[in-house]
Symmetry: C2
Subunit: 382 residues, 2 copies
């Protein structure tokens, strides 16, 4: 940056001033943009966003406020500045105050003297001891949906906030709003997955009281085995889903067969054995269960190839399905059934060892048994 | 903007030039930010984004390329400039070329002479007839996940792209990437919802062959009634879910009772009547089915208060449940059951009218009958 003498100095200096401010604004947005790509947690991103916005605009404080459970209240999601920590516990009504007005109307507001601004109210200042003089407050909006506001308070050098400051905050607000929406959508997807599984498991339990809790325990036993094989997080997730849902196909099996107190005859057995294929078929419309589906299909295959529905043998059976087979047998042995009482844990573990290499994969048996809590091994189920 | 004479003129002019460019870059990002809040469709947002970016950077063309089904290929999602339309049909391998290199490595690239750039390849130019001279290419990244690139081609005034141009494109890229991710997550949520319902309906059908197709038809009949009452899109969605799932509680009913060829005795009836409450209970973990759940619970209430499970009467029964009651009865009458043959449509419609105000809500009957295709009214189900 060059400075020249004489008459032109004022013009050049003011030019240089504006230019530096615009450079700073561009760099603010650029830095936040880079962080969007690299920071996975949204709160951390927002914390850095308000801090950088406050600094760039040479202000005393900045914060992001979001709607609570309804649109009656806003809470401080993140806040920088001298009273930032206090604000974390503050909730404000959207009925009054500048933040409330901006959040309700979706219109940005710039006030260099809040005392002349009719929407201003002193409640938060009275709570925190902070004295608000000037403010930029911008709504957080994505796809016409308002989720809260971002505000920047008190220009530090005594000068005024201007239009360019406001526009920079609008740009920052858009990034912040999308990052928040993104995080919420991720959570919604997870919730939808979780509730799908919970509901499907509930349909099994509703039908067959003898299996109540069975799905949950088989899932837990399967995860024990998976953990001792050091599977990846993704593989563990697949085991969790498949463990919970392995018996979903029993939905289609006649209650008379399912709950028969005597041993099944051979035609009844043939019907019962359909449940793994029916289960896999039921799950075929659920993209996120694609991998779990294969384990549901093969959870009654035997290591020696004498299982069903296909007769897969040894290593051809997916490891997850081999783990579920062990977990399923263990839980079936150690709980009461309509036709017999539960066996003790140590007896069931001996049975798993006895059937290792014939019924069960030896690696799967060892993975489960070695990780099954040792104080439980000789105890009976409470 | 003031101009001064003499020595300082060069400095001031160049200052003014830089300043104007920075103002333009800020305004570009500001305008795109505002559009994020107001444009619901992502393709439209991206189209305007590339157009505005091209203009602001005084370039000949700009485009957004996204990964296809895998990361082997990129396709042009939007493209501005003289060959924009042609590019819509072009797919490029990520194995070579600048876009491929940026998409694979996640590193931005600026080249003012592409012929000296080792990653450049001429395939796209050869396809389109466009001659690439200079390029800025920036990855689209959210939470460390790369989804594609945005590129800006050929500075028009013969000058070079500079660091500030690159930083502006990084800011634009961040907004574009989040908008794309957002749209994809929205779709994932919808898919998860849809597959939850499909799977739940499949569990009913798997169990009870007599109801196969029943859920689908009841949903369609319910929507016919809803449409003629001019319900909102959200209410129609609730009807769709509830129509599909109204019998989900039958999952828990003994197959012997469900498929009994004779009339049920009173204790069997009592069990059968539990299905609406069981169904509502099954759905309680699914947030997006909260409203549908109420309709499942009340779909066997009668307008005269003699229904189950609660005995709600008249207007106290939610309108959606009254519509499902009509749709359910109509489909039950017009299809074969284990204990009787289907009745003709006109007979069933007469029966609905006869039971109007006792069994059924008159408004619901009228809504369904008036919208039931007239050419079908006197015909039997094919």
């Amino acid at each position: 940056m060059m400075y020249s003498a004489g008459e032109s100095q004022v013009a050049t200096e003011s030019t240089s001033h504006v230019e530096q401010e615009n450079k700073a604004r561009l760099s603010l947005i650029y830095e936040i943009s880079k962080k969007v790509g690299s920071i996975p947690r949204v709160t951390q991103l927002l914390e850095q966003t308000v801090k950088m916005t406050q600094q760039t605009l040479k202000a005393a404080a900045s914060s992001v406020l979001l709607f609570g459970d309804n649109e009656q209240e806003l809470f401080f999601e993140v806040a920088s500045g001298p009273v930032g920590k206090v604000l974390r516990r503050v909730r404000v009504s959207t009925k009054s105050g500048i933040a409330g007005w901006v959040a309700r109307t979706g219109r940005p507001l710039l006030a260099n003297d809040v005392n002349r601004e009719r929407h201003f109210n002193r409640i938060i200042d009275d709570t925190t001891g902070f004295v608000t003089r000037s403010i930029i407050c911008v709504p957080l909006v994505v796809h016409r949906k308002i989720m809260g506001v971002i505000e920047v308070l008190n220009k530090l050098d005594g000068s005024d906030f201007n239009e360019q400051d406001l526009e920079a905050v609008v740009s920052v607000a858009s990034t912040a709003a999308m990052a928040i929406e993104n995080t919420r959508l991720h959570q919604t997807v997870l919730d939808a997955y979780k509730s799908t599984i919970t509901t499907l498991v509930a349909t099994i339990d509703a039908k067959d009281p003898y299996t109540r809790g069975h799905s949950q325990r088989v899932m837990e036993y399967t995860l024990l085995g998976g953990a001792s094989l050091s599977l990846t997080a993704e593989e563990m997730e697949t085991l969790e889903y498949a463990g919970m849902l392995h018996d979903i196909g029993k939905i289609a099996i006649d209650t008379g067969i399912l709950n028969k107190p005597d041993t099944l005859n051979s035609s009844e057995w043939n019907i019962m054995r359909e449940h793994s294929a029916i289960g896999a078929n039921l799950l075929k419309e659920v993209p996120f269960l694609e991998k779990a589906r294969e384990l549901v299909l093969y959870h009654h295959e035997r290591y020696d190839g004498k299982g069903y529905p296909v007769g897969l043998k040894g290593e051809k059976i997916p490891m997850g399905a081999r783990l579920i087979a062990v977990a399923d047998a263990f839980d079936t042995m150690t709980t009461d059934r309509s036709y017999r009482r539960a066996r003790a844990f140590d007896e069931a573990i001996k049975e798993l060892h006895d059937c290792s290499s014939t019924h069960f994969c030896p690696i799967a048996v060892e993975a489960f048994v070695s990780s099954f809590p040792s104080m439980l091994k000789t105890t009976h189920l409470v």
